[in-house]
């Protein structure tokens, strides 16, 4: 029988978790609760003696200094809360639903196994729950709201509410064992595709296959082929596809895995009616960018492996290479923000780890796009409140990154109301790979027929089934709960600790990650390397019985890598895995049969020719028509004093300090931190980019930065993209990154651009995608930025049949590169009074899509235009100035323009600035030149630089020939003073007030 162990804090010990819940109940739900107390509950369902249970409770499950424990006794009745009288008014207990990953439960089980020296038997387990005791005048409905609105995500958790009286009458909560019961039936269904078109679509829709009618017809035709039928008969299969085959094709052909939109044929028409056929945006723009940049770089080309592996690889020095990948995990984060984001970060960790022969992970980056966490309007059903998404995502990435021991060095938060339809959760990870592993290039790997298929890490459950196909559709009310997974960073960390050592011993030939589509995708792709495979799903280790073969094949259960191990190394591999506590299983072997051959025991359950799987899909046909939008052109009001506008901008969500989030991320683990997320006299100024030293006895550094500006998409995605790339590079350049060795990654998050009944404006959205790609090519070529990896997520819409919410088209552009000597890095805080302030670059009347207009509820049309040729020359000159030691500080100008950058640099450095707008270089019509434009325009490619007076000559001579101007001086006063064109003071503010405005909005979150 199952026992309940309750662990509670001793009297007088502060319940920080309870206090936080109490604050959140008040903050989120506007309900007053006098006190919240929390208890940890372990339900142990295993054959253990009473003394063994007691030893577990007293040993690993509780801390004798601060906690007490009880077995099968409701402690809530025996210990009063701090108020007199009633111990509590309501009790809520929240635990996991059956089959949901319970990391604490897993660790608790291992702890008991160590204590007793006996492994748990089949079906035995430990399950965790948290009990919340609430004291306060609440109705049953209030408590239900607290449970469902705050404490419990009912998709993955279950809860029980008891009033004090019910609790007493029933003797507390019963022991609940949320195990998955089921038998191994290994059922394989055959699906009849000789049906009407309507029926084909029903099969696709009901099965969450996300296959279009055309794709269903292609599959139908394949199975009609007499040759196919003959080969199937030889395998004992009928003419109808098995569910294993259909599911496998659906994963392989999903938008998520196949990138059908980027591979499709686009008929593009511009605003002048010029037509152009584009065969594959990916090939025409992204791949071509890299090819052409590499040609341009010639002997200086530093790309080693691009697009073909899980992550891109570039050279770092003669001994080491850099690996980088950025992923999105949007749809899962919308459903379960914590689990979705946690899985996002530990999932992207596997990409660089599974690149080439494997890489050590050196840093994470993350960028989140949310709706306003203080959103007050009603939301469609199924959408979580933006604040819950914010809290959950932030915590998920915190746990995933921190527990994995990878510093989170760079990121940002972007806000727009439309992200309530789907939040965007970008997670990136970089790795360091030996240039050579056992005598072969580290970035290369191979498979030979006869190599064994080995899966390592976690076990397979029903979690994450249909993740790939579900994220290839819009979010709707019926999105499947099985799509949600919860990551387990420790299981993954153990696996990585083992695999990196196995790599150095040469124990495997090929490694890749199990992500979307699970084994169907990882082994499917690996089989493509050598021409086939033969895999037995009955050998796969399962979390619990009852999975059918198709579920085993496509489950996205986390923390798994797939490997090809040569037969002569398999014994050593398996022995070492066991010693390191990592589960490894041989699932079959790679072949050159040309067939993806899947068995369950002796029975063939899937027989798919590799060619059909990988090449069977004709390109999509995608119409695209560009018609530039025309927004109202707002009249910018001329004012005598813009101090209030500046203060309001500093408090806007997109500009304000994100320190409360960033401090929750370990940005210094591994010891290589050089430029941290926060800098300046009080360690609280916002850095432009991150610099880390991945090799501790060397001063060579890695620089990473990013750019993202979805607001400009409201005007033109060409300029949105150009500005995002420019922002990434100017951030990178600001801290001292070298232009000789820097590469880019593109992450497209779009709203569905495919014309359909649901998406009548598909051609416009598709044209936005084309324009974005055009800019990608143009700007990357001008900046000599090869693209080394990327990802697209094309269905970021919410649609419930009535309301449709589409995100603004968003490109996250990330860069990674090198700083030869990290000791030359520059930070954004002004350094000392008397230093001269320069503005590099020109300012124009470019307020379109700016934060300044957004503050006034306007968009405008004059979006910033990137002048790449001048910018690139200036960036090169600036870098020479950095190397000459002539730069004291440098801050990039982006959201909020010059005024915001000046305020940030000043309060970060703890010294004032005195600036004169009449000295700022202007471009464009002089009639448009105004204080407001000079202060707040977001013209691209600009830096605010301070230089010590003794370095003035050196700086100016290095920069000569470029657009730059001295615009003021650093002062000892604690004031930002800006003189307007008319000679009057247009901004005068105390640094303390500006900093407070900037720090206040998200400080308490």
């Amino acid at each position: 029988m199952a026992h309940r162990i309750e662990v509670t804090l001793k009297d007088g010990i502060r319940d920080a978790r309870g206090e936080r819940i109490q604050r959140e109940i008040s903050h989120f739900l506007h309900l007053q609760v006098d006190e919240v107390r929390t208890l940890d509950v372990y339900t142990v369902d295993a054959a253990l003696s009473q003394s063994e249970i007691e030893e577990a409770a007293a040993g690993p499950f509780s801390d004798p200094v601060i906690q007490e424990w009880a077995i099968d006794t409701p402690t809530a009745l025996t210990r009063p809360l701090k108020g007199e009288g009633a111990a509590f008014d309501w009790a809520i207990e929240v635990g996991f639903r059956p089959g949901v990953t319970d990391n604490v439960g897993r660790t608790a089980r291992e702890a008991i196994e160590y204590q007793t020296g006996r492994p748990f038997g089949a079906g035995e387990g430990v399950y965790t729950a948290v009990q919340y005791l609430l004291n306060g005048k609440l109705t049953a409905a209030d408590v239900e709201r607290i449970a469902t609105g705050l404490l419990c995500n009912t998709l993955i958790q279950r809860f029980t509410v008891l009033s004090r009286d019910e609790f007493s009458a029933r003797g507390g909560f019963p022991a609940i064992v949320p195990n998955v019961t089921g038998e191994t039936r290994a059922a394989v269904r055959e699906i009849d595709l000789e049906v009407s078109d309507e029926e084909l679509m029903r099969i696709s829709k009901d099965g969450v296959l996300a296959l279009t009618l055309e794709e269903m017809r292609i599959i139908q035709a394949h199975y009609r082929d007499p040759q196919v039928q003959a080969s199937r008969t030889a395998q004992g299969l009928g003419p109808k596809p098995t569910d294993v085959e259909l599911e496998c094709l659906a994963q392989t052909w999903s938008e998520h895995c196949k990138h059908k939109i980027f591979a499709g044929t686009v008929q593009y028409e511009d605003e002048n009616g010029n037509r152009q056929e584009i065969r594959s945006l990916f090939k025409s723009f992204i791949q071509r960018t890299t090819k052409d940049v590499r040609e341009k770089l010639g002997d200086n080309d530093f790309c080693l492996s691009v697009f073909k592996d899980n992550a891109g690889v570039i050279k770092f020095n003669d001994d080491w290479s850099l690996v980088f990948k950025v992923e999105t995990h949007n749809s899962p984060s919308a459903l379960d923000p914590y689990g979705g984001a946690l899985t996002g970060i530990v999932g992207v960790n596997r990409d660089p780890f599974g690149t080439g022969q494997g890489a050590k992970l050196i840093f994470n980056t993350d960028v989140f796009c949310f709706a306003d966490p203080f959103y007050e309007k009603p939301l469609p059903a199924r959408l979580l409140h933006p604040r819950r998404i914010y809290e959950g995502v932030v915590e998920g990435v915190e746990h995933g990154g921190n527990k994995s021991g990878i510093p989170t060095v760079n990121g940002s938060l972007v806000f727009d109301e439309r992200f309530c339809g789907k939040p965007l959760v970008f997670c990136g990870t970089a790795g360091l790979m030996p240039a050579e592993v056992n005598g072969t290039p580290g970035y290369e790997k191979s498979i030979e027929p006869g190599d064994l298929i080995v899966m390592t890490g976690g076990r397979i459950g029903k979690d994450g089934i249909h993740g790939a196909t579900f994220s290839s559709e819009e979010l709707n009310e019926n999105s499947p709960v099985t799509a949600v997974q919860i990551g387990d960073p420790i299981t993954q960390k153990r696996m990585f600790d083992f695999l990196i050592r196995a790599r150095d011993k040469g124990l495997y030939r090929f490694i890749t990650d199990n992500g979307a589509g699970g084994l169907s995708s990882s082994v499917g792709e690996m089989a493509g390397e050598c021409g086939g495979c033969r895999m037995d799903l009955s050998r796969a280790p399962l979390k619990y019985p009852g999975l059918n073969p198709w579920e085993i094949l496509i489950s996205e259960a986390q923390e798994r890598m797939s490997l090809a191990v040569p037969p002569d190394r398999i014994d050593e591999f398996m022995t070492m895995a066991k010693r390191y506590g990592v589960e490894a299983t041989i699932l079959g072997e790679f072949t050159d049969s040309g067939v993806f051959h899947i068995l369950y025991g002796d029975r063939t359950v899937a027989w798919l020719p590799m060619e059909f799987m990988h090449e069977g899909l004709p390109p999509m046909q995608l119409p695209a028509k560009w018609a530039p939008p025309a927004h109202d052109e707002p009249a910018v009001e001329a004012k005598a004093d813009y101090t209030a506008d500046l203060t309001a901008l500093l408090s806007s969500l997109n500009i304000c300090s994100k320190e409360s989030v960033v401090r929750r991320y370990d940005h210094e683990v591994q010891g290589g931190s050089v430029v941290k997320p926060f800098t300046g006299v009080a360690n609280d100024g916002p850095s432009d980019a991150a610099v880390v030293r991945p090799i501790l006895d060397s001063f060579e550094g890695v620089v990473t930065a990013h750019g993202i500006c979805p607001r400009y998409s409201d005007i033109d995605t060409y300029h949105m993209t150009a500005n995002a790339i420019d922002e990434a590079l100017r951030n990178y350049v600001a801290v001292g990154g070298s232009l000789e060795l820097v590469a880019g990654l593109d992450n497209f998050c779009w709203c569905d651009p495919v014309l359909s009944e649901k998406t009548p404006d598909g051609p416009y959205k598709m044209a936005q995608l084309v324009r974005s790609n055009q800019a990608l090519y143009d700007v990357c070529m001008a900046y000599s930025l090869p693209l080394i990896s990327g990802k697209d997520s094309m269905k970021n819409d919410f649609y419930d049949g009535g309301v449709k919410i589409s995100i603004p088209p968003t490109l996250l552009f990330s860069v990674i590169g090198k700083i030869e000597d990290a000791r030359t890095a520059v930070t954004m805080d002004v350094k000392r009074p008397g230093d001269i302030v320069y503005l590099l670059g020109k300012t124009g009347f470019e307020l379109g899509g700016s934060e300044y207009l957004a503050l006034k509820g306007q968009i405008g049309n004059s979006v910033p235009v990137v002048h790449t040729e001048k910018a690139y020359a200036r960036y090169q000159a600036y870098h020479r100035a950095v190397l000459a030691g002539a730069v004291a500080s440098c801050h990039d100008l982006s959201d909020g323009g010059l005024a915001v950058a000046a305020a940030e640099s000043a309060f970060a450095g703890g010294f004032g600035l005195s600036l004169d707008l009449s000295r700022v270089l202007w471009m464009g019509d002089s009639a448009d030149r105004s204080d407001a434009a000079l202060l707040f325009a977001e013209s691209a490619s600009r830096h605010l630089v301070t230089v010590r007076p003794e370095k003035q000559d050196a700086f100016e001579s290095i920069m000569s020939g470029n657009c730059f101007a001295s615009i003021g001086v650093v002062t000892a006063e604690q004031t930002l003073t800006i003189t307007g064109l008319g000679g009057g003071t247009v901004v005068r503010a105390k640094l303390g007030d500006l900093k407070e405005a900037w720090q206040a909005p998200l400080r308490e979150l």
């Binding site: 010990i13 960073p489 010891g671």
Partner: protein, 275 residues
Amino acid sequence: MVKARAIVITGNGTNCENEAAHACRLGGFDEAVIAHIAQILSGEIRLDDFHFLNLTGGFLDGDDLGSAKAQANRLKHAAVSGTEEKLVEQFTRFIADGKLILGVCNGFQLMVKMGMLPGFDGDYLTQRTTLTFNDAGRFQDRWTYLKADTASPAVFTRGIEKGIYLPVRHGEGKFLCDSAATLDRIETEHLAPLRYSGPDYAAPTQEFPLNPNGSQNGIAGLCDATGRLMGLMPHPEAFVHRTQHPRWTREELPEEGDGLLLFKNAADYVRQNLL
């Protein structure tokens, strides 16, 4: 010449092994071996062959049962492969042999929960103190000023006149004692070598964020009466070079970071007493 040898244990969620080993080497150890716990449990590597044991930062077993609890349980119960010896016996012998142990962050949590600290009266296996959730209820990565107790027996903090500046990176760093008597004894015997303070290192503080977690009496580190065993929440291995300081681009700083001294002191002690 006999070598000064340091060992850093990793595995099951330890994260800071590389920079800890780097700090040991910079501090003067001839060797710093990173040993996976599997290599120790298999008997391949033995603690007896080293002079300085580093239990460093990370999230052992995800801190799932409370920080470092599961590892404390594992070390207590797991046996070295092919022998009758429990791993914990290697630890107690290491202590009895007069060697050095430094626990940082998760390693400090492990030492406290195993009872290795404060190690009253030579009892290294009874838990008397703990490290629990920060008062702020959140993980914190921020730099802290640590006032040194010059009367402390700790080997590692010898020579620190006022204090040192190091980062903390934890969610469970609030130091608490099981009784007033334990706290009194820690104070009387000067077993808290480092405490959170203001930038002047003048007095311990309870004020957030200077004291980032609400630790009793501002205690950031703890040692035993011999001074050879010490644990602390801040990360000395994270500040061994000036470029790791958050304000290195604006302040004149010595080349070596404040944290390096702890490793130098360890190496000096080993050379003078154990070789």
